[in-house]
C-alpha cells in the first residue's frame, strides 16, 4: 500500500467475533466465527471480501459498522474508522456513525425495502434523519444518483413503490440509498448474487461507476471471485473466519499463493467432453405449452426437446424463463395445455394421478434446496430406503444393505444412515437427495438448480459425482440451471429458454459457438470472466452495438 497513513479510512486489527449457538438437543455454547482478521482500507479504494458461506465475510462487513447480527458479539480487536475506535463509540456514537459515515447495501433488496413507502422517502431517510441536508437537497441528490446509476426516468423514479420496479432497479435504488448521505465507506453485502446474470452486469457496472464518481471506499462481499475481480482493488480471501490470503486483485487471480485460493480461481473451469449423439431417445417433449390457472398467458410456449439415454440436456435461462415450469410439466405436477410427452417409448399421462408407478419410478427429481427436499423428521435410512420399499418391496436387512450401497455410491460411507438431515452439511444433504433419486433406478433424473445453493467447491464435487453416476448407471439428466459454467461442466446438449420458449437448442458444441442469436449472445457475454477489465469490455462492446443499431 503506497497510500499515506492519513489516507487510511478503515483499520481493522486482530478482529475476533463470537456467537452463541443453540444446537437442537444440546446446551448453548459459544463459537468463534471470525478470528484474527486484520486489514486496512484507504479512502476511495475497494476491498473485496471473498469466501464460501460460513467464512465470516458478512459478519466482518457488519463489524465495520460495529454491528453484530443476532447473537453475534465482537469480542476482540480494534476497528478504527477515520482514526477513531468505533467499538468504544457507545450507543449514541454508533447511531451518529451508521447511515452517515458507513452505510450498507444488503443482498436482498426486495426484503430490505418497506413495501408500503415510496422509494424516495426510503432513499433519503438516513440523510434527513441525520440532518445532513434539507429535503429538497436530499431529493436532488437522490435524483442525481438515480441518473448516475442508470435508472430510467430519474426525476420520477422515486415516486414509485418497491413492487413497481424490477429486482435490478431495486438493487440500484438501494445503492443510491447508501450513497445519498455521502458516507466515507459503503459495505456491499452480495448485492448482485440474487440477480439474473444479464441483470447482474448492469448493476455491477452501475455500482462500479458510482463508487468511482463519488470517491467512496467500499467493502465488497461476495462468494464469486469473477465478480469481485471486476470491482475490487484488493481482495481478501477468507475461510472459516480466518484470512487465507490478501493482495491486489491482479495478483490474487493471476498468481494465487495458497492452495485454497487456487481452487477458488479454477473452480469454474471444469470441462466435460460432449457424448456423441445417436442413442435411444428416453424423453421426447413435443410442442408442449402450459399455463398456470388464472394467468392469461402461457408460461411455456411450444417447447420441443429430447434427451437420449445416458445423456445430459441442460436447460438454461434466467428466472421466469419457464425452465422450472418445464420440469413441472414433465413430472405431471402441471398438466400441459397442449403437446405430448413421450418417456421411454410410452406417452405419459399429462397429470400425475394418471401415471403408472413404473413411470413415476423411472422419472426422478432432485431439488435446488436440499434442506426442504428432505423430511427433517426422517433419518437418512428412511429417506433413501422409502423408494426401495415403495418400488421394489425391499424390507429389513435387504433394504439396509442397499441403503449402504447407495451411501457408498454417493461417497458418504458408513455412519450416516441414522442421522437426521439437520446433522448433515449442505453438500451431504444434496448427496442424500441424489441417493434417494438413484434408489428408484430411474432412466431420467430432473435436476432443478441442484448446485445453485451450494458453495463453488462443494458444487463442483456434486457435478463430478453426477457425471460419475451417469457413467456407471447410464441415467439421463435434465439439468436446469442459470449458470453457464455449470452447463459447460455437465451438458451434452443445451436448450436455451427465454420467456417460456426455447430460443436455441442443440448439441453443446453448436449451441455455445457463434453465430449466436441475440439472447444467447447476451446471456453468454454476461457471464463474468475471471480477469480484470472484462466488465468494461462488455459494457463498451454493448454501447457500440446499440450505437450501431
Amino acid at each position: 500500500m503506497s497510500d499515506a497513513a492519513s489516507d487510511i479510512l478503515l483499520d481493522v486489527r486482530g478482529l475476533r467475533i463470537e456467537a452463541t449457538v443453540h444446537p437442537p438437543g444440546e446446551r448453548a455454547r459459544d463459537v468463534v466465527i471470525v478470528d484474527d482478521v486484520s486489514f486496512t482500507l484507504a479512502r476511495g479504494r475497494v476491498l473485496g471480501l471473498i469466501g464460501e458461506s460460513g467464512a465470516g465475510k458478512s459478519t466482518i462487513g457488519l463489524a465495520a459498522m460495529a454491528y453484530g447480527r443476532g447473537g453475534v458479539r465482537i469480542t476482540g480487536g480494534e476497528i478504527r474508522l477515520g482514526g477513531r475506535d468505533i467499538l468504544k463509540a457507545g450507543a449514541a456514537g454508533l447511531r451518529a456513525l451508521r447511515g452517515r459515515e458507513v452505510t450498507y447495501v444488503a443482498q436482498s433488496a426486495a426484503a430490505a425495502f418497506n413495501p408500503a413507502r415510496r422509494l424516495m422517502d426510503q432513499v433519503t431517510e438516513a440523510t434527513l434523519r441525520h440532518g445532513l441536508a434539507t429535503r429538497e437537497q436530499a431529493e436532488a441528490r437522490a435524483i442525481a444518483l438515480f441518473g448516475r446509476l442508470g435508472l430510467p426516468d430519474p426525476e420520477r423514479f422515486g415516486e414509485r413503490y418497491p413492487h413497481q420496479v424490477s429486482g435490478g432497479q431495486l438493487q440500484r435504488a438501494m445503492t443510491a440509498m447508501a450513497l445519498c448521505p455521502r458516507p466515507g465507506l459503503v459495505v456491499f453485502d452480495e448485492p448482485t448474487t440474487a440477480l439474473d446474470v444479464t441483470t447482474q452486469i448492469d448493476v455491477l457496472a452501475a455500482i462500479k461507476e458510482a463508487i468511482r464518481d463519488t470517491g467512496v471506499a467500499a467493502l465488497y462481499i461476495t462468494h464469486d471471485l469473477a465478480v469481485v475481480a471486476q470491482i475490487a482493488d484488493e481482495i481478501m480471501v477468507l475461510r472459516q473466519g480466518r484470512m487465507v490470503e490478501q493482495g491486489p486483485t491482479a495478483r490474487i487471480i493471476g498468481a494465487p499463493r495458497r492452495e485454497y485460493t487456487r481452487a477458488l480461481v479454477s473452480v469454474r473451469s471444469m470441462e466435460h467432453p460432449e457424448k456423441p449423439a445417436g442413442g435411444q431417445v428416453v424423453l421426447d417433449v413435443a410442442n408442449v405449452s402450459a399455463r398456470y390457472a388464472g394467468l392469461p398467458r402461457d408460461v411455456l410456449r411450444d417447447v420441443s426437446v429430447a434427451i437420449e439415454a445416458g445423456h445430459t440436456l441442460a436447460v438454461v435461462g434466467e428466472s421466469g424463463s419457464g425452465k422450472s415450469t418445464l420440469a413441472r410439466a414433465i413430472t405431471g405436477l402441471l398438466p400441459p395445455s397442449r403437446g405430448r410427452i413421450r418417456f421411454s417409448g410410452r406417452v405419459l399421462s399429462p397429470d400425475l394421478a394418471g401415471r403408472a408407478r413404473e413411470d413415476l419410478r423411472e422419472l426422478q427429481m432432485i431439488y435446488q434446496m436440499a434442506d426442504v427436499a428432505m423430511n427433517p423428521r426422517q433419518t437418512v435410512a428412511t429417506i433413501i430406503g422409502r423408494p426401495l420399499e415403495f418400488y421394489f418391496g425391499l424390507k429389513g436387512g435387504e433394504r439396509d444393505a442397499r441403503v449402504q450401497e447407495l451411501l457408498d455410491a454417493i461417497e458418504m460411507g458408513r455412519g450416516f444412515a441414522d442421522r437426521y438431515p439437520a446433522e448433515l452439511s449442505g453438500g451431504q444433504k444434496q448427496r442424500v437427495c441424489i441417493a434417494r433419486a438413484l434408489a428408484a433406478k430411474p432412466k431420467l433424473i430432473i435436476c432443478d438448480e441442484v448446485t445453485s445453493a451450494l458453495d463453488p467447491l462443494v458444487a463442483e464435487g456434486i457435478l463430478r459425482l453426477l457425471l460419475d453416476l451417469q457413467a456407471q448407471e447410464g441415467v439421463a439428466y435434465l439439468f436446469i440451471t442459470h449458470d453457464i459454467a455449470t452447463v459447460r461442466a455437465i451438458a451434452d446438449s443445451i436448450a436455451v429458454m427465454h420467456r417460456g420458449a426455447v430460443v436455441r437448442y442443440g448439441p453443446k458444441s453448436r449451441v455455445l459457438s457463434p453465430p449466436f442469436d441475440d439472447y444467447t449472445d447476451l446471456l453468454l457475454s454476461s457471464v463474468p470472466e475471471m480477469r480484470q477489465g472484462w466488465l468494461e469490455e462488455v459494457i463498451r462492446h454493448r454501447k457500440m452495438e446499440s450505437a450501431g443499431n
Binding site: 443453540h22 438437543g25 446446551r27 405436477l333 401415471r355 427429481m365 427436499a373 423430511n375
Partner: protein
C-alpha cells in the same frame, strides 16, 4: 434433553398431582360422593372433614376428589376427540385442497360463527343429559379451533419439496398425511393441546355451573361452585375451593404448555429433532 425451567417443573408437578388424584379417586376419597355425612350444612373445617361440608352436609374433600376425576375425565376425552377430528380434517383439507378444502373450511367457519357456549347450551338442552353427550358437544365444538390450526400448519408443510417428492413418488394420501406432515406438525399441535385442555376444563365447568353439564349424583367442580355459591353470602368459603382448584389446574397446565410452545417455536433452536 435440555434443562426444564422451574415454572414448567412446577406446572408438571401440579398437573401430575391432579391427574394422580383423578386416577385414584375411588381409593383415596374418605367418603362416597353422595353420602350425607354430617347433619350440619357448610360445617367449618375440622379434623374429620378437612375442607368442611357442603350445602347439604356432604364431605367437601371427597366431592372435590371425585369432582377432579369427572372434570379431568371429561376434559381429556373432549380434548382427544377435538384433536383427532380437528387435525385429521385439517390435514385433509390442506393436502386435498380444492373443493374438499372449501367445503370443510366454510362449514368450519359456519360453526365458529355461532358463539360456542350458546350453541352448546342449545344442543345440551334438547339432548338427553349424560357424560357422553357432554364429551361429544365440547369435543366437536373445540375441534373447529384445532381444525384451523392444523390446516394452517399443514398448508405450510404441504408446499415443501419433500411433500412434493413424496407425491411424485406416488405415495397415497395416508402416507403424506401421517408420515410426511404429521411428524412435522406435531410440535405446534402438542402445545395447542395443553391450551385446548384448559379451555375444555373451563367449558365443562361453565356448563355445569349453568346446570347443563354434569348431572347429579356425579359432581364436577363447576357444579360444586354452583351448589355452594349461596353460602358465600353467609361467609361460607365452600364455593371458593372448587373455584381455586379450577384456577390452579388451568395455571399449571398453562405453565407446561408455555414451555412446550417456547421449546418448539424458539427462534434459536427451531423445532428440535
Amino acid at each position: 434433553m435440555r434443562r426444564i425451567p422451574l415454572s414448567a417443573l412446577i406446572g408438571l408437578a401440579v398437573t401430575g398431582a391432579f391427574f394422580a388424584v383423578a386416577l385414584t379417586a375411588q381409593w383415596i376419597a374418605p367418603h362416597p360422593i353422595d353420602e350425607i355425612v354430617s347433619p350440619q350444612i357448610w360445617a367449618p373445617r375440622s379434623p374429620e372433614f378437612p375442607l368442611g361440608t357442603d350445602s347439604i352436609g356432604r364431605d367437601l374433600l371427597s366431592r372435590m376428589i371425585f369432582g377432579c376425576q369427572v372434570t379431568i375425565l371429561v376434559a381429556t376425552a373432549a380434548t382427544v376427540l377435538s384433536f383427532t377430528v380437528g387435525s385429521v380434517l385439517g390435514f385433509l383439507a390442506a393436502t386435498a385442497g380444492g373443493w374438499v378444502d372449501q367445503i370443510l373450511s366454510r362449514a368450519n367457519d359456519l360453526i365458529m360463527a355461532i358463539p360456542s357456549l350458546i350453541l352448546a347450551l342449545v344442543i345440551l338442552s334438547v339432548t338427553p343429559p349424560g357424560i357422553v353427550t357432554l364429551v361429544l358437544v365440547i369435543g366437536l365444538l373445540d375441534a373447529t379451533r384445532v381444525f384451523r390450526l392444523a390446516r394452517a400448519v399443514a398448508a405450510d408443510i404441504a408446499v415443501m419439496d419433500y411433500v412434493e417428492a413424496a407425491r411424485l413418488r406416488g405415495e397415497g394420501k395416508a402416507w403424506v398425511i401421517f408420515r410426511e406432515i404429521l411428524p412435522n406438525a406435531l410440535s405446534p399441535l402438542v402445545a395447542e393441546l395443553g391450551l385446548r385442555f384448559i379451555f375444555a376444563v373451563l367449558f365443562i365447568s361453565t356448563l355445569s355451573f349453568l346446570g347443563l353439564g354434569v348431572q347429579p349424583p356425579l359432581a364436577d367442580w363447576g357444579g360444586m361452585v354452583k351448589e355452594n355459591a349461596a353460602g358465600l353470602v353467609y361467609g361460607v368459603p365452600a364455593a371458593l375451593v372448587p373455584s381455586a382448584a379450577i384456577a390452579v389446574l388451568a395455571i399449571s397446565v398453562n405453565l407446561v404448555a408455555d414451555w412446550i410452545l417456547a421449546r418448539t417455536t424458539s427462534l434459536k433452536g427451531g423445532r428440535g429433532v
